[in-house]
Symmetry: C2
Subunit: 199 residues, 2 copies
């Protein structure tokens, strides 16, 4: 779901609906595009719902959209050509760096649910990249580890993945990258507040 990259070259939006029913018609004279939609969204939510925290809307909308673009690019150019998926790569990445793990720990480190790790491991096991073994520590657990094939495959994939990451990161200076990471980390720490729902 990578959007067109060249705003505002998209064809014109349909004309706004007639006055009366429903929300206030969009006031934009220019056609909306993926890019201008964020600005328009902020303006229009303020009009539709007085009291809207428009800065928060802009923040979350931008965060989600940019992340989606990055992930789509990485998945479609690096991982799908290998017959992999983005979540598959993420699980292989965790096992590559942390070594063999119990499935629950792999779920925790990768930020996936236990059921998602279980289903994903089915796929990766079938591809010969990961193997399951009963855990000596706990009869309920399975220990996931990369096969030799998996080790080689993830090293190769990560090289290409990192090359692509570098292209994305290169649009920011080193200082900007550091600032972005710092602010994202600060945003992420909000999850420690009791109001935020977490697993």
């Amino acid at each position: 779901m990578t959007p067109p990259a060249d705003p505002p070259a998209a064809p014109p939006a349909e004309p706004p609906p007639e006055s009366g029913a429903g929300p206030t018609p969009p006031a934009a004279e220019e056609p909306l595009t993926f890019w201008s939609f964020v600005d328009a969204a902020v303006t229009r939510t303020a009009r539709q719902l007085p009291g809207t925290d428009t800065d928060a809307t802009r923040l979350v909308l931008t965060l989600y959209r940019v992340t989606n673009m990055v992930v789509y690019d990485l998945e479609s150019s690096v991982h799908r050509p290998r017959g992999w998926s983005w979540p598959g790569f993420r699980l292989l990445f965790v096992l590559w760096l942390a070594g063999p793990l119990e499935a629950g720990r792999a779920a925790e480190l990768s930020g996936m649910s236990r059921q998602a790790v279980s289903a994903l491991t089915n796929t990766l096991e079938r591809q010969g990249l990961v193997s399951r073994a009963p855990s000596a520590r706990d009869g309920r657990s399975v220990r996931l580890s990369l096969t030799d094939t998996g080790q080689r495959a993830i090293a190769d994939a990560f090289a290409a993945h990192n090359e692509r990451e570098r292209l994305w990161a290169a649009s920011l200076s080193a200082e900007e990258q550091a600032t972005l990471v710092r602010l994202l980390g600060k945003l992420g720490s909000a999850a420690q507040h009791s109001e935020i729902r977490r697993r």
Copy 2:
């Protein structure tokens, strides 16, 4: 897939694998957690693959993980209780703000594929929130619009959604929010470079 919020309180990782086969064993003495994994990942990829752009790795890893946390929280606390999904909300949001749209335009504005919008519209139509009509402009197109029920439902959901966005955003000052949005926007503009894959 929201990870535990309280680093590093997670139970200890399994002991590192023995020397020899596979990658260099993880050197960390502390158990890895969702949080410390990012730092560990950066350190260990540099060791596994000399020449790794570790700043890019940190940037993309952090971006993805924080976004995932935010989306999981919004979806599980605001949208799933309504019987909705995150993508469903996003499509409703676009139709709410832009008014009735042809499906292809809705796909464009929301950053989804046409097939994803089609399948999602099936669900929302079944829930009585969206309706399809043939487009007068183009015999191949369908025009998507919110039903009256849909209008009311999205207004109510967005109020709760925005309240939750506000909680997230509140962890940053207004200036920090503006800086984050600006840097994300700059990162997103990288998609205009020809190397980045886009739809």
